[in-house]
Symmetry: C2
Subunit: 431 residues, 2 copies
């Protein structure tokens, strides 16, 4: 393989975008018909709709319906290049990115590399727990859950059997809450039918939350109602408890509380996915994010920008940066598309103003919580709103249709049919 990416430099300035998530794709769309050369780099050839990963893990959706080929997004854009590459280093002196497939010079660089799971330095937990930030990770979790139930059938040891059927989810944010709700529904509706020869009632679902409430980014009303919904579904919520270790069997916490489980899902936090060479202390801030000004320029640079989860733009309302969610990413991508063109033309850029469209989370069938700026509501209507919004933000008509078909089917039939162990997780570990 060549040591370059085989992209001919033209007279247009070259903008390199690292990452095809919400931010990178929003930016690319804005640059689609402009006099710039755009190179989008991503380690995958698809965009992932992360908010629905938990439905992949729980068999409610197939992975392919929340992934979308990046090349298809870009296909009608002239002067666009996609390369599937892992960016290994950024050379800010020579304006060059180093990737696993070669090096590339840039005139302008936009880091939209997103975030990764934050294990807060606990490598034992990292080794034994499951994360849910990518499609392969979500599929691994799907396999593991199903493999554990198949295995639970085979043991006469009650403790072992229960450990195989228990779930501990660390983190009471949207991911943890949505996953717990889905698991509770599976426990109620699917397991007794699928495993008639197993007493699945003893399966326990725990959320362990270090703070004093779940969904802490949302309103008190949403948090309380979500807790209520989860408890009705039989989920145990442990607040003000911090998980301290997990050896693949026993979860210990900073209290007397311990759990025996074969499945620990780590949804306790994310951190910016910084890249070597652009990770100096002066601009890497809380949560491993890159400090940017109101034009998304990384502190100390004029031609290097950061948008989305990786960017930390401090404002009065958000002293630690915007929440690491889709909305700030999309809005920043959109706006940078305009700003970067202005910057090239040496016109003044427009300061970014975040339009907080609110937050939402679904707990289960007819159960969701929605916080809009002036209106907060919970229950059936919130659930419909949640579904509509998620369908709307999914990329691609086919994906929307397939997700819609699945949701209608799952709703009418109380079912989740993608409970498939396509690639076993445990066996692979053993190899």
């Amino acid at each position: 393989m060549d040591k370059n990416l085989n992209i001919t430099k033209t007279s247009y300035p070259r903008i390199v975008i690292i990452g095809g998530g919400f931010a990178g794709v929003a930016l690319a769309k804005k640059l689609s018909k402009q006099e710039v050369q755009v190179v989008l780099l991503d380690k995958n050839n698809y965009h992932t709709f992360q908010p629905l990963l938990y439905q992949v893990s729980t068999g409610g959706l197939e992975p392919d319906s929340i992934a979308y080929p990046i090349r298809k997004i870009l296909k009608d854009f002239p002067n666009f290049y996609f390369r599937m590459a892992v960016v290994e280093e950024i050379d800010t002196d020579k304006n060059k990115v180093k990737t696993n497939i070669g090096n590339l010079k840039f005139d302008y660089l936009v880091v939209a590399s997103g975030s990764t799971t934050n294990f807060f330095g606990n490598s034992e937990i990292e080794k034994h727990s499951m994360a849910m930030k990518t499609i392969p990770q979500s599929l691994n979790l799907r396999s593991l859950i199903l493999e554990n139930f198949e295995e639970a059938l085979l043991t006469s040891d009650l403790n072992e059997r229960n450990a195989l059927m228990n779930f501990v989810i660390v983190g009471g944010g949207p991911t943890g809450v949505e996953l717990a709700g889905a698991l509770a529904e599976i426990k109620k509706g699917i397991l007794p039918k699928d495993y008639p020869d197993l007493d699945t009632r003893s399966a326990q679902i725990h959320i362990v939350q270090s703070g004093d409430c779940i969904l802490k980014g949302m309103s008190g009303k949403a948090s309380a109602k979500a807790e209520d919904f989860l408890e009705k579904l039989g989920v145990n919520i442990w607040k003000n408890v911090r998980v301290t270790s997990y050896d693949g069997k026993t979860v210990t916490t900073n209290t007397d509380l311990t759990f025996e489980t074969a499945t620990l899902v780590w949804a306790a936090g994310v951190k910016g996915a910084t890249i070597k060479g652009l990770d100096a202390e002066e601009f890497v801030t809380r949560g491993n994010r890159l400090l940017v000004n109101q034009f998304n320029q990384v502190k100390g640079f004029r031609h290097i920008f950061a948008i989305g989860d990786i960017a930390c733009m401090v404002s009065d309302a958000f002293p630690h940066g915007f929440p690491m969610m889709a909305q700030p990413a999309i809005q920043q991508g959109d706006q940078l598309g305009e700003n970067i063109l202005k910057f090239i033309e040496q016109k003044p850029m427009k300061a970014f103003v975040y339009k907080d469209k609110g937050a939402m989370a679904t707990i289960g069938r007819n159960k969701a919580v929605v916080d809009l700026q002036h209106y907060k509501f919970q229950g059936v209507f919130a659930w419909y709103v949640w579904m509509f919004v998620h369908l709307f933000f999914l990329i691609g008509f086919r994906n929307r249709m397939v997700v819609f078909v699945n949701w209608v089917y799952n709703y009418v039939r109380f079912d989740r049919e993608a409970r498939l162990i396509i690639r076993p997780f445990k066996k692979r570990l053993k190899k």
Copy 2:
């Protein structure tokens, strides 16, 4: 893990079925409300609809829509047990199967283990080529094809680039023909848009066929028309040529012909998936299949049966056994369901008579060939018939809906959106 499968023996006779393919599932359904204990063993927790695997490999369908959870098929059947297990040996003296999760006694055994790819002993080809008999294999092929195109972009070496874009398919049966047709459509409709910076016109698709026609199990008319369709799509068909070696780069044949390709798909044949302990020469016949009588009893046994691909039932019309396809499997499963109950009640069993419902293959958009017993037709109507029949035989309403949505979308938009590299194939090899 225990060394047994944790299934309590009841007063009912126990029937162990090895394999949840077309034959095993048809049999299970027939036994659903009878006074027998049924244990179904399969290495996967899902049934695979093999006829559509090539659409998974070519991004037209998501894998989850052609897989169906076996537990869901069995969920309303009393006295049914499913265990996800690999059967390693059959002890015909002690009436016992040995699996990777423990041993199990049987009163009656039905081998429905299907078939695997037949490399005819050529381990070099086995190592470097791609097979397409399982969902993971089909996904590997999907990844490899897309990875090769991403790589083709990076090289300036014309020969290397062409090798990455060429496909050689060995075998002109339905699998080879359908895959070649799908690849030809991708080359025409998708590659130029996805890879504007690559001259994808030079991508070549070859079918290498050892016999003197493709689709040799079908009528001369079907074969000729399929060949015509493929040639119009730009597929090169090489007849009377046998592939002799492949080192991952160069394909050699028994003639002067060689091909340079990074993708060799081996669809040249299948063989019965025999199991140790039930593989004596006296009943293992041509194609590694188990010789059975007209009641599907394996030669020399009264209580051990074989159905589907693994069974070779010789008749005047089919001196080498029935074709290894879904129809004989389903019909044998159905009939054995009745026969085995008769056998248990010591009533005479009914000899199996195969009802040949014909054969069909699709080449592409509006292009299929259908052979019914009294009516053979090709073209648009055949294509609709092909789709209808495949939708009909798919298990599960959700799967049918999702496949239907995909097909309508693909047809209207000339597209295949599941072109996703979810689990890279090459990188894994390197690890």
